[in-house]
Amino acid sequence: MNKLDLPSYLDQSDEVKARFDKLKQRPVILNIKNLTKIFETPTDDVVALKALNFKTYRREFVCVIGPSGCGKSTLIRTLAGLETKTSGQVLLDGNEIDGPGPDRGMVFQGYTLFPWLSVKRNVMFGLEIAGHGKGPAEEDALQWIDLVGLDKFADAYPHQLSGGMKQRVAIARALANKPRILLMDEPFGALDSQTRAKMQSYLLDIWRNIDVTILFITHDLDEAVYLADRVLVLKANPGEVQEIVEVPVPRPRNPEQFLSPEFLATKARLEELIHPADSEDPELPGDHMNMMNMVPVDDDVDHVE
């Protein structure tokens, strides 16, 4: 593609600017202070996250991107309480988190529905553990299933659902606990591109309709720009905040915006941040293909006469 004349990703329309101003007035839901995570291995210590500082505001949609090995997954697993932090603080509504809990819902990349429970019972799982009676839990669960558009499949088992449907149930299951924040670890990574696009729209719809803050990890830059209010860009070795990009694309979002100048400018900026033009993959220096010409020299695929 030829270089286009794009506006700066920092240019925000008045409307977008006003929205960000309002957003930052809202209460802070998640406050990460100097979060550091070190994995100890027999040979040496690996710093996965180094002094991370970041805040999310109520009902904000934040995407996290970064090159592989930047600790995206470690970050979200630490926030979920599945990994213990080495130092620093993670505050949810001002209170330090302690282990995993239903106040932080999580949707994983792999399918984690309980195969022995029907869709309805999967969604009821957290409610029943929280001590809701079976009746109210079921009523509640059916509403969530309805919200993700799977009311016809309430009694189906997970193996009867497609990948996209499974992830919708997983979202409903996490949301049924009314979490303060929904943590999503590349939830659409395993889906084909068509389903993925549909799921992105579903997710935006769901997010618009309920009071939840979303932290969403992805490696797909289009997805990040399309979904997020702000994009947290991490850098690898060690994982540190590189930049927090405010997405200037107005809401409500729709797929046509993929080609709008603001969208492309933001995406170009993200591209620049995670794949700097002069960089070589730090893990595999000198990793390139040795292209030999294995066809007769006059057999040229680029120029056919």
Binding site: A80, G81, L82, G99, P100, G101, P102, R104, G105, M106, F108, G110, T112, F114, P115, W116, L117, F125, G126, I129, A130, Y157, P158, H159, A170, R173, A174, N177, L183
Partner: protein, 319 residues
């Protein structure tokens, strides 16, 4: 086409049925050919007319070489020649003999009053297996699940169990008789010893294979220790646990014969040893087959029960 679709192609229902039937018909055919087609094997001759050979009598089985030699001898002396039909050794009865023995074994009254009918002996065997297996499972399943879930249980128990499972169960026979008497007690104990230690290790291993992602998902949904064990670990391993138990029940049957020889011989083993003593080998074969039939049908019943217990597993075959 993926590799699995080429290597493990799904078969249609009728194909499955035909193959399952063939798996029995092929060995039966081989058995029939060896039994009924003369000179395929038939190393013996059954005398029909003794002729002038002094020690031949009707119905006697002799080696074919001996028969030919004696026949040549009497022929040379000009006496009456013996006649006979090719036959297999007595320890290799034909299918029809075993089939009729199968029937008559059930309807033959015991020779002595204190002896049991065959179906009573079989029932005794089934009870020994049942109690041995149930007692083993009552302790083995919970211990295995705990060991697979919590490292402290596995480190505390596994080394000893790994040691103990190498001790052959029959070695405890004399000890079991001394402690538990000569009747069913020691037999059940042998089945228990033979099953329990394997069972604990197999179930601990099955428990460890539960997808850790499911546990993590449950944690983020608010599950704590107890709810994790009862609402995630147990249901998560239930299908594999059930399959393990089916396989282990099969192993328990393999300890049956040894177990029943301990103390006063009883059950199907008593029948087998008794019949072998009288050289009724057709009855011996019939009894061995009964064990196979009981084992296979109990497994089929358990498999059907499994299909009802685990409706979410129907897309996979519970093999």
């Amino acid at each position: 086409m993926s590799a699995s679709s080429i290597l493990r192609r799904k078969l249609k229902q009728y194909q499955n049925f035909i193959l399952a039937t063939l798996s029995f018909i092929i060995p039966l055919t081989v058995w029939s050919i060896v039994s009924y087609v003369p000179y395929v094997w038939h190393p013996k001759v059954e005398i029909t007319v003794p002729g002038d050979v002094s020690y031949f009598s009707e119905g006697l089985l002799v080696d074919r070489e001996i028969f030919e030699r004696e026949k040549a001898n009497v022929l040379a002396e000009g006496k009456a020649i013996p006649e006979g039909l090719p036959a297999n050794p007595i320890y290799f009865p034909a299918p029809d003999e075993v089939a009729s023995a199968f029937y008559t074994a059930f309807v033959t009254e015991p020779t002595r009053r204190n002896e049991k009918w065959l179906h009573e002996s079989l029932w005794d065997s089934i009870k020994v297996i049942f109690w041995g297996f149930v007692i083993s499972s009552i302790f083995g399943v919970p211990l295995g699940v705990l060991m697979g879930t919590y490292r402290i249980f596995s480190k505390l128990n596994e080394p000893f169990i790994e040691f103990f499972r190498y001790l052959p169960a029959p070695a405890f026979g004399a000890l079991a008789v001394a402690i538990l008497g000569i009747h069913q007690g020691p037999k059940i104990a042998i089945i228990f010893i033979g099953t329990f230690f394997q069972q604990v290790l197999v179930i601990a291993n099955t428990t460890r294979k539960l997808d850790p992602m499911l546990v993590e998902a449950a944690l983020t949904l608010g599950a704590k220790r107890t709810s994790l064990l009862f609402k995630v670990v147990l249901p998560g391993i239930s299908t594999n646990l059930f399959r393990d138990l089916r396989i282990l029940l099969g192993w328990a049957w393999t300890y049956l014969i040894v177990a029943e020889l301990i103390g006063s011989s009883s059950g199907i083993t008593w029948f087998i040893t008794q019949q072998a003593r009288y050289k009724n080998f057709d009855n011996v074969y019939a009894a061995i087959m009964m064990i196979g039939i009981i084992g296979l049908s109990s497994d089929i019943i358990l498999r059907l029960i499994g299909k009802h217990l685990f409706p979410w597993e129907q897309h996979k075959s519970l093999s």
